[in-house]
C-alpha cells in the first residue's frame, strides 16, 4: 500500500512503479467509462424518443423490449445488416475515417468527467478502491477542460470530412454549414468556459468540481447566470441539436453530411451525436452545477437515504445530468429550427460579444477584489465601458446592414 499525501492530483499512472491495484483500477475505469458511455447513449436515444412522444401525444417505441428499451439495440442491429455503400466519387480513406473522427472524441471527452465521488465529511471526492485512493473519473489531467475543448474541435473534423469525402453536393453543403456553425459557436463556448475558469481558478475538472461545494458556490450562480445560458446555447449548437440542427436538416439537405452514409458508418454518426449530448450534459453539470456534489446550502447538506457515501456522488450526478438531457429533448420537441443566417447572427453577433463582455465584467470584478478597489464602482465603470462597446457594435451592425441593402446582397 502506498501512502498518499494530500495531493489534489491522483493519477496512478503518474506514480512511479507499476502496482497491480492501480493497474486494475485503470482498466476497470476504462471499462466502466466505455460501457457507461455506450449504454448511456442507448438509453439516451430511448429516453429522447419516449419523451418526445409524450410531448407529441404519442406512445413512442413500445414494442422492442419492455417499454421499448431495446429499440436502440434493434435499430443498431438493423443498421448493422444494411448494405454498406461507398459512393463512386468518394474519397475512400477519408470516407471510412470520418465516422470515427466523430465518434471517438465523444468518449475522450467523457473520460475527464468526474462520475461520482464521496464529497461528505471533507472527502474531496476521493474514494478508496482496492486500497488505492482515487477519484471516480478516468483521467484528471491538469489541463482538464482545455482538453475537452480541444477534443470537441476534432469532432468538427469528423463532420467536415464526412461531407467533403462523400463526393456529393448535399453532404458537402451540410458539412460546410456544420463546420462554420461549430467553429463559430466554439468561440462562445470557450469564452463562457473562461468565466468558469476565472471563478474556479483551475482547469482540471476535479478542481472545478471541488470549488463548488455549496449551492452558492455553484458556478451557475458564482459566475452569474449568463455564462451558463451562453454555454447551454453554444453547446446545443456544438452538438448540432435542434434548434441548431440544419446541418442534418432533412427537409433541406436530404440528410446533410450523413446523406451518403449507411449501415455501421451511419450508426456511428448517430451514436456520436447522442454520445456527445450525454457528454456535453455531463460537462455542463460539472462546470456549472457542481458535478457529483450534493446540494448544500448554508451548511445543510441533503442526504440521499440508503445510498452509501461513496455512491452518493454518482446518484447526484445522474440526477443532474438527467435534468439536462431532458432539457435537450425539450428543446427538440418545442423549438423550430433556426435558419442558417439567424444561426450565424446569433453566434457571432450575440453570443460572442455577450460572453466576452461578461468575461470582462467578471475579470474586472476579480481584479477589483484582488486590488481592494470598490467593487460596485468598478462594476459600474466596467458596465459603462461595455455599454460604449455595445453602442459601437450596434453602429457597426447598422452600417453593415445598410451596405448590404445598398449592394443588394441576399442572405
Amino acid at each position: 500500500m502506498v501512502r498518499i499525501a494530500a495531493h489534489p492530483m491522483l493519477d496512478p499512472s503518474l506514480e512511479g512503479g507499476m502496482l497491480w491495484a492501480p493497474l486494475i483500477i485503470v482498466i476497470l475505469k476504462v471499462l466502466v467509462v466505455f460501457v457507461v458511455g455506450l449504454v448511456a447513449t442507448m438509453l439516451m436515444v430511448w429516453f429522447e424518443r419516449k419523451v418526445i412522444a409524450g410531448m407529441q401525444n404519442r406512445i413512442g417505441p413500445n414494442k422492442a423490449g419492455p417499454f421499448g428499451l431495446l429499440q436502440t439495440l434493434a435499430d443498431g442491429i438493423k443498421l448493422f445488416f444494411k448494405e454498406d455503400l461507398l459512393p463512386r466519387r468518394s474519397d475512400r480513406f477519408v470516407f471510412a475515417l470520418a465516422p470515427f473522427l466523430s465518434f471517438v472524441p465523444a468518449f475522450l471527452s467523457f473520460a475527464i468527467i468526474p462520475l461520482g465521488g464521496d464529497f461528505r465529511d471533507g472527502n474531496d471526492g476521493i474514494v478508496t478502491w482496492f486500497g488505492v485512493q482515487t477519484r471516480i473519473q478516468l483521467a484528471d489531467p491538469h489541463i482538464g477542460v482545455l482538453f475537452a475543448l480541444a477534443i470537441s474541435s476534432i469532432a468538427v473534423y469528423g463532420i467536415m470530412l464526412a461531407g467533403w469525402s462523400s463526393g456529393s453536393k448535399y453532404p458537402l453543403l451540410g458539412s460546410v454549414r456544420a463546420s462554420a456553425q461549430m467553429v463559430s459557436y466554439e468561440a462562445a463556448l470557450g469564452l463562457s468556459l473562461a468565466c468558469v475558469i476565472l471563478a474556479s481558478g483551475t482547469l482540471s475538472t476535479s478542481g472545478i468540481v471541488a470549488a463548488q461545494a455549496t449551492l452558492t458556490d455553484w458556478n451557475v450562480i458564482a459566475t452569474g447566470v449568463v455564462p451558463f445560458v451562453i454555454f447551454l446555447i453554444a453547446a446545443t449548437a456544438e452538438l448540432n441539436r435542434p434548434p441548431f440542427d440544419l446541418v442534418e436538416a432533412e427537409q433541406e439537405l436530404v440528410g446533410g453530411f450523413n446523406t451518403e452514409y449507411s449501415s455501421i458508418r451511419f450508426a456511428l454518426f448517430y451514436l456520436a451525436e447522442f454520445m456527445n449530448t450525454v457528454t456535453m450534459s455531463a460537462m455542463i453539470v460539472t462546470l456549472f452545477f457542481g458535478g457529483p456534489q450534493p446540494v448544500s446550502f448554508r451548511g445543510v447538506t441533503l442526504d440521499i437515504p440508503f445510498v452509501p457515501n461513496a455512491l452518493e456522488g454518482t446518484v447526484w450526478l445522474l440526477a443532474k445530468v438527467l435534468v439536462f438531457l431532458y432539457i435537450y429533448v425539450w428543446f427538440r420537441a418545442t423549438l423550430p429550427r433556426l435558419r442558417y443566417d439567424q444561426l450565424m447572427d446569433l453566434g457571432w453577433k450575440v453570443l460572442i460579444p455577450g460572453s466576452l463582455a461578461w468575461f470582462m465584467l467578471l475579470a474586472a470584478q476579480r481584479l477589483a477584489r484582488n486590488e481592494g478597489w470598490n467593487v460596485f464602482v468598478t462594476t459600474a465603470a466596467a458596465v459603462m465601458a461595455l455599454g460604449v462597446c455595445y453602442v459601437l457594435l450596434q453602429a457597426a451592425f447598422t452600417v453593415s446592414n445598410d451596405t448590404r441593402e445598398r449592394e443588394g446582397v441576399q442572405f
Partner: protein, 230 residues
C-alpha cells in the same frame, strides 16, 4: 405566447390521456386479460374536416355523382388521380348526363391529402372521409380503384381488409367539401348549395364562425363530445 410559453405547452402534454396512437392491438399489454381492451384502444377525436381517404359519392337515388371530367386529376399537385370518362349507356345510365367516370383510380402512395380535388369537383363526387388509418402492405393495394372508392348503397365507404376503422369515422364524408363550397365567399356561409348524398340526404350547412365560437364557449366538453359522436 412568448419564447418560453412553447416550452410549457410541450411540457404539459406529458401523461395526457388523449393520445393519437394506441397500443398495438396485437401487443403484449393489449393481450393481457387484466387490461381493458377498449380503453386502450381509444384515440383522440378527429376534427370534422380531417383530410383522410377519399370516397366517390352518389346521389340519393343511387346514381353516381362522378361525371368523369378529369378536373380532379388536372388539379392534383401530386398527379395521383387517373380518370377516364365514357359514354353513359342510355338504357342503364351510371350518372345523370352523357358521361360517367369509367376508370377512377387514386394512388395513395402519391396522395398528399390536400383536397384540391374535392374543391375542384363540379358535382361534389369526390370527398374525403376521416379515415386515415389505411396502411396497405403492397403497391397494388395502394392504388384504390373506383369500386373501392365508391360508397355503398347505404352511403358508407367500403371497409377494405387492411383499414383500421374507429366508430364514427365513416360518417362525415364530405365536411371539407361543404366547408369550402362557398369558396370563402362570406355571403354564401350558411347557405345549402350542395345536392343530397345517398344514405344521408342533404346535409345541413356548416355553423358560421360566430355560432361555432358561441357553442364552444358554452360547453367545450359538449362540443368535443359532439365531434366524437359525429
Amino acid at each position: 405566447m412568448g419564447y418560453l410559453g412553447g416550452f410549457l405547452v410541450t411540457f404539459r402534454q406529458h401523461g395526457r390521456k388523449n393520445r393519437v396512437t394506441t397500443q398495438y392491438s396485437g401487443g403484449r399489454l393489449f393481450k393481457r386479460k387484466k387490461r381493458n381492451a377498449k380503453s386502450m384502444d381509444e384515440k383522440i377525436y378527429k376534427p370534422e374536416r380531417l383530410h383522410g381517404r377519399h370516397v366517390l359519392n352518389r346521389y340519393e337515388d343511387g346514381m353516381e355523382k362522378c361525371i368523369g371530367c378529369e378536373l380532379c386529376a388536372a388539379v392534383c399537385p401530386a398527379k395521383c388521380i387517373h380518370v377516364r370518362g365514357a359514354d353513359n349507356d342510355p338504357d342503364n345510365p351510371t350518372s345523370p348526363g352523357e358521361r360517367f367516370g369509367w376508370i377512377y383510380e387514386i394512388n395513395y402512395l402519391r396522395c398528399i391529402h390536400c383536397d384540391l380535388c374535392v374543391e375542384a369537383c363540379p358535382t361534389e363526387a369526390i370527398t374525403e372521409t376521416k379515415l386515415f388509418e389505411f396502411s396497405f402492405t403492397n403497391r397494388k393495394d395502394a392504388i384504390y380503384t373506383k369500386n373501392e372508392l365508391l360508397v355503398g348503397d347505404d352511403g358508407k365507404p367500403r371497409h377494405l381488409p387492411w383499414e383500421d376503422w374507429r366508430p364514427g369515422e365513416d360518417q362525415h364524408t364530405s365536411a371539407w367539401m361543404r366547408a369550402t363550397a362557398a369558396a370563402g365567399d362570406a355571403s354564401f356561409v350558411g347557405v345549402v348549395s350542395w345536392a343530397g348524398e345517398r344514405g344521408y340526404g342533404v346535409r345541413p350547412a356548416e355553423a358560421t364562425q360566430a355560432q361555432a365560437d358561441a357553442s364552444e364557449a358554452a360547453s367545450p366538453e359538449a362540443e368535443a363530445e359532439a365531434e366524437v359522436k359525429h
